[in-house]
């Protein structure tokens, strides 16, 4: 079997085992690798995994089921890379390990098998009926062709419909006329890239790309950070013709703010006093150097009366919400605990509203609130699009 990690051979050998990836960077209680506080074992951290890659390439270690937990417990959040001083693409290497695991036929966590099966069956991660994918848009009469296409993704289509509905509300309020693929839309394919099923992912990507191009879209906008990253970075790799301009809703909203096309209600007294904070999703900011930090902030601060306070760790240093790398599926308890920790940090800002721009982050944070209501129930967890929508002048 040709190992997928071998294409990163030189990068893997760059590793000088300095430990920055697994060390302590910012504030209490956590480390660079947010899992260090949970596992603490060397072989569960980025440095240990790179060490394992050396042995895998040398043949002194084989892909066996003993490696599965180590490979799939990774949040794939990119924090290790942001502190590494050498050119090591951790995100790519550790996904390549997952690809190897699949190709070696290892026994994957059953939640991963379930996601793959759901996607095979119904084109979404929930295994929910395909026909229900566009139910959220029933009343909205959205066209299926146009210059601007909105890609809600699985979460906003099925479980977090407020985000999708809010997105449309905001875009229309700005005078835009977004189209959707509706029931023709399938999962963006990212869960399969994360699980190591690259071939299956490719199929999804090709199909979606074809359909998006068929709409005549010049711009595709996604409200989910994961969909955004996948459409922007992965799609052109698989489909070189996919030359559509891909934006995240925060980027588009920032443009609309710039063009003065969003009009807000006059803030109430309560609104003026309220503090809001913002969580930077990994797949919008840190990963792949996408760096979408300024635009969400610009949008938030365009709402009159907003009192915006940064999270203690923000932007490139932001903590992963805990749901990354499919860990939400394989280890929900740990993912929720991480969310709780992030929300405790949010408490230090005094915020009552906690904004993020990824529905997977939003779901995990909401679970976090439920886990520690005593200290977190006051926090309102909302998507950025919801936040904007609720402050717009009524049409």
């Amino acid at each position: 079997m040709t190992l997928n990690i071998k294409q990163y051979e030189e990068n893997i050998c760059y590793c000088s085992r300095c430990g920055n990836c697994y060390g302590e960077a910012a504030l209490e209680p956590s480390s660079t690798c947010f899992l260090r506080d949970y596992y603490g074992w060397e072989s569960f951290g980025p440095r240990g995994r790179l060490n394992m890659c050396r042995h895998l390439m040398d043949g002194t270690l084989q892909y066996t089921n003993e490696l599965v937990e180590r490979i799939y417990s990774d949040l794939l959040c990119g924090a290790c890379s942001s502190f590494c001083v050498l050119p090591i693409p951790h995100f790519d290497i550790f996904r390549a390990m997952r690809k190897d695991a699949v190709e070696a036929g290892l026994k994957l966590p059953k939640e991963i098998e379930r996601i793959v099966a759901s996607l095979d069956k119904a084109g979404n991660v929930f295994g929910a009926p395909k026909d229900n994918r566009a139910k959220w848009a029933t009343e909205l009469a959205l066209p299926d062709k146009g210059d601007l296409v909105y890609f809600p993704g699985c979460y906003s289509s099925y479980t977090d419909q407020e985000t999708a509905i809010s997105t449309i509300k905001v875009l229309r309020a700005a005078g835009l006329d977004p189209a959707i693929l509706g029931t023709e839309e399938s999962c963006c394919g990212n869960p399969l890239l994360l699980s190591g099923h690259a071939n299956k992912a490719e199929a999804f990507i090709k199909e979606n790309a074809r359909k998006l191009m068929a709409t005549g879209a010049k711009t595709v906008v996604a409200s989910c950070a994961e969909c955004f990253r996948t459409l922007k970075v992965e799609y052109p790799k698989i489909v070189p013709d996919f030359k559509v301009n891909v934006l995240h809703t925060s980027q588009l909203m920032a443009q609309l703010v710039q063009e003065n096309r969003l009009h807000y209600k006059w803030p109430t007294a309560e609104g003026r006093a309220a503090i809001v904070t913002y969580h930077d999703p990994c797949q919008l900011g840190r990963l792949e150097g996408l760096g979408v930090y300024d635009q969400p902030r610009k949008v938030i601060q365009s709402v009159p009366g907003t009192n915006f306070i940064e999270m203690p760790r923000n932007q490139k240093l932001a903590r992963c919400c805990g749901a990354g790398g499919l860990v939400k599926n394989t280890n929900d308890g740990m993912a929720t605990n991480i969310a709780v920790e992030v929300l405790h940090e949010a408490n230090s800002t005094g915020a009552m509203t906690f904004i993020t721009s990824c529905p997977r982050c939003k779901k995990n944070f909401k679970d976090g609130v439920k886990k520690d209501p005593m200290r977190l129930l006051h926090l309102k967890i909302v998507d950025l699009n919801e936040f904007i929508a609720m402050h717009l002048v009524d049409a």
């Binding site: 920055n20 060390g23 910012a26 060397e42 060490n51 003993e66 001083v85």
Partner: protein, 462 residues
Amino acid sequence: MNKKIIKQLAEIVGVQHVSDDPIELMVHSRDASPLFEEFPVVVVRPGTAQEVSEVLGVANKNNIRVITKTGATTPWGASVPRQKGLMIIQMGRMNRVLDIDENAMVVTVEAGCTWTRLERTINPRGWRVGVMPHSCGMSSGVAGNITAGSGTSQYSAKFGLQIDNIMGLEVVLPNGSIIKTGSGAIDGAKQFDKNSGTPADITGLFWGSAGMFGILTQVTLRMYAMPVVTQYQLHAFETPSAAQRMIYRVQKNDIASGLFFFSRESVATTGWPLPIAHLVTGSIEGSNQTEVDGKAETYRTIARDEGGQEIKDIGAVLGAIYTDKLMRYTFGNETYFPGGGRFCLNTAFPIMRLEEYLSRTAVMGKKHGINPFGVVFIAKNTLYGLQYFPYYEREPEQRRKALAAGAEAMEANAAAGMGSWCMAGILAPAFYSRMNKNTFAFIESIKKAVDPNNIMVAPWEN
């Protein structure tokens, strides 16, 4: 490892803090050095000094030999098992800042507390440590820096080595006794002064002795007020002899707080927009601008006198060496060489032998077809040179050459009367063979007294 022993260890530290999982053991066979070494038989992570003591009890009873580690970031192989059958005691769980005593100007931390955690705790209160290690502050533990004997930084010019700034320790001896060195050895007295508290200053025993005399569990360090004003300097020199004269005069006149030397070869690898020359960078601190200006003027005069060319735009150096708030700097930055491997040679010598040192290591490297490059710390009257012999990790022949070149350079430097400050791992051979026999016997006899069952691995083994 015998499952019964694993069980006993689990009863001490908790089952989630013991591992004999083959993959976990495998990843502990490497550290930041070029070495590929033995696998340990068990890794244990104690949470308190009492647990450390009990774990050593098990080791003693069952004749299991022990090494200790935290971040495993020494480039010379101090943190890997170099023989079979070892237990690794991993100190990373014991990572808290325990006490900040602003009156005594000391801070006490657990052994595995990282430098980053420590600095970020005390910086907001206006304090800093003297010697924040040059690299790997995010992953290396405070105790490791002492145990490895490696504590240098660009601020060693003023603050000396790490041990100069240690006010006391809590140590678990190989026989399991928990002791304090320094003023804390007196019941009820606080730990703030290493010069009192015991007949004979035993703190120093634990410096650079690779844990063979005991396992550090707490460290008390001096804190210093953040300087009110700091100014940075950078000068380029054509020759190392000019640079060494400048460094000597600056140290003699006690002007700079920080000093650091980049050899021409290492500057060439950085890609910084700077002249390819020997660079000396300094930081000058004081309580007000006029004082700092005064010192800086003297500094610059000396540099000019010795032919140094002042470089005004020092942004790149500043960020990397001095002001990175995240303390990301590691020797990885210095590798500057794709392929990742390096033999890191540590040599200590008086300031005026810098040129000799550089030329000798270059000659040794050339003999084997390797181009070494390096940096030098300055601590009071001594220079601490780190010379890297780089190679591609994937090319065994090149690796062999680099290791051979480094070893030969080490021997040559030692034969010329230069020392090493870290005498373990790949740096051990040249130095133990040259050590005064009586001194070595003396150290061995202390080890015997303190570790009668010989469970702690000594740095001169293998």
